[in-house]
Symmetry: C2
Subunit: 206 residues, 2 copies
Amino acid sequence: MSAQAQQSEEEWADIAPDAARRLVIAAVQAFAERGYHATTTRDIASRAGMSPAALYIHYKTKEELLYQISLVGHRLALDILERPALADGSPAERLADAVRSFVRWHAEHHTTARVVQYELDALSPEHRAEIVGMRRATDAAVRGIIEDGVRSGDFDVTDVPGTTLAVLSLCIDVARWFSTEGRRGPDEVGDSYAALALRMVGAAGA
Amino acid sequence: MSAQAQQSEEEWADIAPDAARRLVIAAVQAFAERGYHATTTRDIASRAGMSPAALYIHYKTKEELLYQISLVGHRLALDILERPALADGSPAERLADAVRSFVRWHAEHHTTARVVQYELDALSPEHRAEIVGMRRATDAAVRGIIEDGVRSGDFDVTDVPGTTLAVLSLCIDVARWFSTEGRRGPDEVGDSYAALALRMVGAAGA
DNA sequence: CGCGCGGGTGAGCGGTCGCTTAGGCTCGCG
DNA sequence: CGCGAGCCTAAGCGACCGCTCACCCGCGCG
């Protein structure tokens, strides 16, 4: 099994049965490559090694596949950001931690992240509303760290919501441009972005 | 005429005849709202107030409409960035200028910018290659300013290409999240982002 | 006046889409 | 052994897609 395929298997390990997992993995690849609307259910099924009809045994619609991907992805993103948000340590350490791991995830899983971050509008209104709620939580996690830093005097930020948005925006956009062919790997980009984020909040000595 | 419509008219003023311009404006709105693949030629034509067949009098295919939009948009983006890149003044002034006006354009014309920045993959391979070439030029413009700043000692940057990418990435992502309903207008976001960019390059006193 | 031409229409073609239906195979289990 | 549950397929339905065709209208001009 290729390293890529191995990684996909781990990422979606808790989806059963096997055929449903293969469909999700196939859908992530297809959606990331061509976008949700340009992907056909026939393409997803054939990537997963089955007939077009088999997809509908495991998922009611194509949109439900996207929802599944979006839900798991956002849950993971929220986990990644809330760990440093609730941790001990200086605001600078926690912000650096949050940005580093969030960026590393966007780089390492950039196919999944691309679907999660850029295909939101293809969700049904109900599913979309649910996901938007989770995104508010990720925003609150980062904003909390920055507020702590401002309160303690470690950060110098006048517009906290605006800076929060900018930091998150910078991280999310990694999914758009990151390529495994590029000069830097996920770890390098994560470290570099953690330093950039500290500069953006005016952390002393950054 | 609404302020929005007025702005669209100005943005595409040099496209003639009138019907072709109306089609471009309709296509930009439709592509931005639903994405290229989810937009039908019938929808574009009806927004422009004509029959589905009329579209093909002015454009050979739906993709040619996207190409037209992408080409004009990228030309404008390149203009905006190259003016401060080639101007006199300190690197800090020039970088702030470039980021401020680039961000302002992405906010003010966020519907156009969304199409220009996020529908690249829907272009034909030939058209895509041409646009990618223009994007390399925009990257070079910003990199030039940062290199000048590093050389003069005004900036403190170890990874110039990486930082260039991050600054551009931050600006481009404005098109994704900016909304006219939001708290800040294009000018406020532009000023705020210019300051953030100066911090990212470690400009003295930023 | 008649006539060509640029810009328009209604109808529709060939193809593909998301999804359904009818049926078949392969197990574990009483 | 029989038989139901779970998983899968071949075939195809109805809708809708990008795009084309045959035809029409108003206007400038010899």
